[in-house]
Subunit: 159 residues, 2 copies
Amino acid sequence: MAAGAKVQEVDQDDEHVISDLEQFVGYNLKRAYVIVQADFREALGQDSLAPRVFSALSLVVQFPHISQSKLARRLGIERSGLVAIVDELEGLGYLSRATVPGDRRVQALVPTQKGRSAYAEAVATVRAHEKALLADLSAAEQRVLINLLRKIRSKGEVE
Amino acid sequence: MAAGAKVQEVDQDDEHVISDLEQFVGYNLKRAYVIVQADFREALGQDSLAPRVFSALSLVVQFPHISQSKLARRLGIERSGLVAIVDELEGLGYLSRATVPGDRRVQALVPTQKGRSAYAEAVATVRAHEKALLADLSAAEQRVLINLLRKIRSKGEVE
DNA sequence: AGGATATTGTTTATCTGGTAAACAGTTTAA
DNA sequence: TTAAACTGTTTACCAGATAAACAATATCCT
């Protein structure tokens, strides 16, 4: 039990000394998220789609005629926040707001052909970048990772 | 090659239909991160520390006399952004900016006793909340998750 | 020595993503 | 038919983050 008070003068490179924070899932999640997100942005470039816009487009392509409310719920954001995203996609000519016969409140979002092919291209790009970024992880590891993350996600979607 | 064009009329509850996005690590990472972060905030409450303030305090407690520049680098943020965080921690009486004999530019951050105990308490709280949130994951799964996330993190710390 | 260069903490302006509250138009329920 | 609920939207706001400039100080170079 000798020698325990030498913690004061640590002025060198604490750079990769392991820290308390690393025990928390939340901290590791955040750091990993930041990295993957940066890679995503680099993949699709400033010219193109931000992550959330990409996600919105993805759902519109997969579920044509989805309403904005449903889309927002599915994306986990407020309807008010979705407006700008849909505006952007409409401005790019990737979708159009279509009126729905039965209900004059809702606007069905339908992807254009341009939107569909832009999405297909974006998917390929993102997939390639993600593959490169995660080259350290085997296919099995990636599956495990996604499944663990999905387990966490399921805790939040309760509401 | 029969029957492939029935994708149009999906107007029911698409709620938990599996979507394209789920194949991407980035998407799952983001969703999981949002949930864990919300839980963290609930744990420490609006009264108390935001995640980034908690992280800063953690490193100051672990590495007393760390400089603001080093702290910022370690947190992965800009020095300019750190100022407000340190201001807040100083305002709470959790640390003080101490001058350093050798170099009059740097301000060494030293935790107060109050800061140390506040941190210890916060760690316990966060740990308990995280444990509850991640109850679905076994201890082994949590270790695996953290290690996989750490692998991703290592790709980013290169620079 | 002294001048260029670099570093530290800081302020300011700016951007992004996101929420909350209010609103008009429309539909549904009592 | 009146009350309640829902849809898309605008507006105001907030959090976190970056970039650029700056004064004070330190280091390097010959």
